[in-house]
Structure formats: C-alpha cells, structure tokens
C-alpha cells in the first residue's frame, strides 16, 4: 500500500505542502480563489513542524491498526480497502474528538468551525497526494515504505 514517506532531512519548511493540500481539498481548486474566498473553511491535512533548522511535515500515517478507528464512536473513521487509507466520513462524524485524543502523532485536527474531525485523506482518488507532488525538495515521497 502506498504511503507518504517523510524525509525529515530534506524538509525546507516552505509549507508548500500545506498550501497545496488546501487547494486540493477546496471547492474551486484555483489557488488564488481559494486563498481569497475559501481560506477559513479549510484545514490542511499536513502540518509542518519547525524548530530551528529542523523541520518536517507530518500527516495521518494511515496506520494499519489505527487507534482512531478503534476510538471512533460513529464508525466515521474507517479503512478504505481500495487505497489502504484511513478516511473520515464527515457526514458521520459528530465531533466527539476521541480520535484526537488517541492519535499518537497528532495528525487529526478539529475541522473548520470545530464541527467535525479533519485529517489527511491521501488525496482520495488522485494519482499522487498534492503534498508529494508539490514538495520542491522531495521531502515527501509516495511509495511503499517496505522498499526503504
């Protein structure tokens, strides 16, 4: 199953991954429109952490044994067999935040307006996640992590 593999030593902290995640999950998909009109209604699935010159981007790891799926009381967090991704069905989510409580990498956020849980969905349906496609330094790559 393909995953986003993070190479911390190449992350330059530019945050183009965050920007492109927002665009990918926007309505208009046009970056200028997104930042003018939709910015407040979007939460990035990937977050860049920075401390001095060390930085790296982290998003949902789509764990095989995801603690968020176990903790989810509505079954909104579920495993998608086709992509191997852990997805949050936002129609089912009631915003109880159990997932945030148990995610060991802190990849889940309270979504815009704090209504439902928000996290990376591996750009469901796309050939390659937007963060990977737009990282200028290949600090995020899309591959099988067994190959590493």
């Amino acid at each position: 199953m393909k995953r986003v593999i993070i190479k911390e030593e190449f992350c330059i902290g530019c945050r183009l991954c965050e920007i492109n995640c927002l665009v990918q999950h926007s309505k208009s998909k046009k970056i200028i429109k997104v930042f003018r009109n939709e910015r407040d209604s979007l939460v990035s699935g990937v977050q860049v952490e920075q401390s001095g010159y060390v930085s790296f981007a982290i998003q949902c790891r789509h764990c095989e044994d995801a603690p968020c799926m176990e903790a989810c009381m509505t079954g909104a967090m579920h495993w998608d067999a086709e992509t191997g991704a852990v997805l949050c069905e936002q129609d089912r989510c009631v915003g109880c935040w159990m997932c945030i409580m148990v995610c060991p990498v802190g990849a889940i956020n309270t979504g815009p307006n704090r209504a439902v849980a928000s996290k990376c969905d591996l750009c469901y349906g796309a050939e390659m996640p937007a963060c990977v496609a737009n990282c200028p330094n290949e600090a995020l790559i899309y591959g099988e992590y067994d190959e590493e």
């Binding site: 993070i6 790891r61 704090r114």
Partner: protein, 433 residues
C-alpha cells in the same frame, strides 16, 4: 442437551456493543470463517452507546446509529436480537437464554457492558417522565416523551460525562435544563477544579443551570407525571422530565453464582481471560489492569472496550495478544468547548509535579501531571489539537525530562520529542526521521 453439543458455537458473545465489535474483529483477524453467535438483549443491531445523546439532540439520525453496517456483512455471524442471556452453565459450557434456548459454546465472551445506577428508594421514581440514559431505547423513549408532552423544563441528575452529553442534547432541543451534581463540582472524576469551572461556564453559556453538592431527594408528581424535583439542598426545581445519569455499574449479574470470579466487575487477566478457561470478558463489565496503577479496575471507555474485546477475540481464536493496561481517557465536547482528559488529572499524595497554563477568556486550559519526569495525567480544554501525542507519552511511559519546558507551548509537537522515541513511534508507518 445432545442437540446443543452438535451445534456448539466456536465463538459466542453476550452483548453487541464496542467490546463485542472488537471481539468480532479480533476473531476474524485469525479465523475467517468460524461461526460467531451474538446474543443481544436489545432488539437492535450493533451500535455504540455514546451516540445516544447525539440521537436525542438531533445531531445524528437513526440511519447513522448502527455501527458500520458494511463491516459486519461479510462475517459468518449469527445475531440473536432481543434475546437475553440469563445464566451460564460453566461446566456444560452452555448459555441459557430467557426465551428457553440453550446455546452451546467453545469460547465465550461476556461483553454485557454497564447497568445504569438508579437510587433504589427515591420517592416518585415510578412517575411518568423519569428515565435512565444508557441505551438507544432510552434515547427514543425520552425523545418521544418530549414530543408528546411538549417538555419545556428538565432536570438531569448526575453531572458526569453522560449527564453533560444529555444536557447538551436537551438544550439543543430548547429545553431549559438543570443539572444536579452530588459532588462539589461537575465532572469531578475526569477534571480538576479549573477544568470543571470552565466546563461549567460553557454549560451556562449554552443555557443550562448547574447545582452542585446536591442531588434529588424526591420527585414531585402531579397526576402520576413528573412535575418537579426536590433537591437535597432544600430547593425545588420544576420540570416535566427527569433523567438519571448517576453512572453505570458493570452488568455482571449473569456470572453470579458461577465459578467466574468477580470484584466490582468480572476479573480478567492481561489476556482478558476470566478465572474460567475459555471464558473471556471485555468492556464496561470487565475489571482489568490499569496501566498507571497496576491495579485492576473497571474503566468504562469506548476505545478500551473495543481493544479489550479485540484482544479477547484474538485469544479466543488461538492468539496470544496481551492487554497493555487501561488508561482512563475521555474526550467530550461541552456545548462547543472541546475537552480531553487522560490519566491522573487530580493527583493525590506526594511526588507529583504539575504544569499548567490557563487563559480564562479564550478559554484555554492545559495541564500536565508528572511523576518522576513521566507524564501520568493531562487535561486539555479549548485547545485540544495534538493531545494524542501526550496520550502516547503517557502510555509508553516516556521520560520527558529533556523537553518538559516545551510541553505546554503552542509549538509542542513531534519535533519536541527525542529522536529515538519519534523514530520508534513512526517507523514502519512511513516516516524516516
């Protein structure tokens, strides 16, 4: 008797909520076809109890209540709905039901959950309009009662987690609700004083009224229907609906009189085995090892119930899974104020170090409790993003001496952690760190 020997189910589960669902997943992880029989007292398919307050408040409709219907479809599963298990014949390995069935089993999982606590001799408790709040049926009954009687005022007895969620649902239905909590403050087990106060403020803003250090002494009735509640502090509150959310006790009645040992709940070891071979218990009914204290206690939390059920199921199918120990943890959104509490939030005794930061206006409250430089408890109110990292540190008992000062900062994240732990945490999951 001869019949049931031949029809002995390889796996029999009593109960159909989180622990049972975990059990099914655990079994299926090792045994793809073995017949699983589920006996459920409720005339329902599987669902998770915490959802009932959302059902009541209208945030979730009936279609969304059943637990992941698609996941169940593929298993070789026999579900007996509306069938109450009455007695376990431990020697003969048979479960006898209220409607006279004798279900033989090879492996049994008792996942009967909890039973709502109701004060036994409370005057007026038989009046129309008095409810407990644990099952889907309860939620429906309350909702129907509200509609039929155009309820405008309600009293919720018990200011714990279930009580607060119930209050939230009622206020969403525009019912003026009063909470009566016996302790000095609401959420006294999960929260500390500061967090309780912030939760209280949020409830008040949401339109609820909160009375502490008091509980119901008598239910006032009029023509057999609820008219109000008299509280132990001497006051009276008028209402037409009373909901008791004092707490749940483990529903262990089915093992009484058998060789299965109990304390407050059904005692289990780290494999979720009871004192009888082949019989397991999991979920709110089980009393299992607590991660931090090492003692066995009943912790009624959904993800733990699932995990216990999963381990039980896995072991029922020949596995050797081990329970790491339960960690008390709760996530509850109190009238749009997100909160998370994990572990020992109000430590008693010596040797604890407490770090906290509070912004009353926002409101944001973060508290970390440490012992010997290891986090043993945490509270997050208002700002809960990434709290799971702290939960992980508690579970893995990681020493935080190297980065204590970073714990409560806004920038706290995986980069604050020692590289070794971070590597271990995400290795194999796709991060090269």
């Amino acid at each position: 008797m001869g019949n049931t020997m031949k029809n002995r189910s390889p796996y029999l589960i009593i109960g159909n909520s989180a622990a049972a669902m975990g059990g099914v997943a655990g079994i299926r992880g090792r045994d793809a076809d073995g017949l699983i029989t589920i006996v459920n007292r409720e005339q329902r398919g599987a669902y998770y109890r915490p959802l009932i307050s959302y059902l009541l408040g209208g945030k979730v409709d009936e279609g969304k209540m059943p637990y992941r219907p698609s996941a169940m479809g593929e298993s070789n599963l026999r579900l007996l709905q509306g069938v109450e298990a009455r007695r376990i014949d431990v020697g003969g390995r048979i479960v006898e039901t209220a409607d006279g069935q004798s279900l033989g089993f090879e492996n049994l999982l008792v996942a009967t959950g909890g039973r709502p606590i109701v004060p036994k001799d409370l005057p007026g408790r038989e009046a129309e309009g008095v409810f407990t709040f644990t099952t889907w049926d309860d939620a429906e009954k309350v909702r129907d009662f509200i509609e039929e009687n155009e309820v405008k005022e309600a009293v919720v007895v018990g200011g714990g987690l279930i009580g607060l969620k119930c209050v939230e649902a009622l206020t969403a239905l525009r019912i003026k609700t009063t909470i009566a909590e016996l302790a000095e403050r609401i959420l006294s087990t999960a929260f500390d004083e500061t967090a309780s106060q912030l939760a209280l403020n949020s409830l008040k803003k949401g339109g609820a009224e909160v009375r502490c250090s008091t509980t119901a002494s008598r239910i006032l009735t009029k023509e057999g229907k609820v008219a109000g509640v008299a509280l132990t502090d001497g006051t009276e509150v008028s209402c037409s609906l009373v909901v008791f959310t004092i707490g749940v006790a483990p529903e262990k009645s089915i093992v009484e009189g058998t060789a299965i040992r109990t304390d407050r709940g059904i005692l289990v070891d780290s494999s979720m085995r009871t004192s009888v071979e082949g019989i397991y218990a999991a979920g709110d009914v089980a009393q299992a090892e607590d991660l931090l204290s090492g003692e066995k206690r009943c912790i009624a939390i959904l993800p733990l119930a699932y995990r216990q059920g999963f381990i039980a199921g896995s072991n029922m199918a020949g596995g050797e899974a081990k329970y790491e120990g339960g960690l008390v943890m709760n996530a509850v959104d109190v009238c749009d104020l997100p909160t998370i509490s994990v572990g020992m939030t109000s430590p008693q005794g010596e040797g604890y170090e407490v770090l906290s930061v509070l912004d009353e206006k926002a409101p944001v409250y973060k508290k970390i409790v440490l012992k010997d430089d290891r986090i043993v408890g945490a509270i997050f109110v208002g700002q809960i993003d990434r709290a799971g990292i702290i939960t992980g540190l508690i579970k893995k008992r990681i020493s935080v001496s190297g980065f204590k000062s970073l714990l409560l900062t806004d920038a706290f994240g995986l980069l604050s952690l020692p590289a070794e732990y971070r590597k271990h945490l995400v290795s194999g999951m796709g991060t090269e760190v």
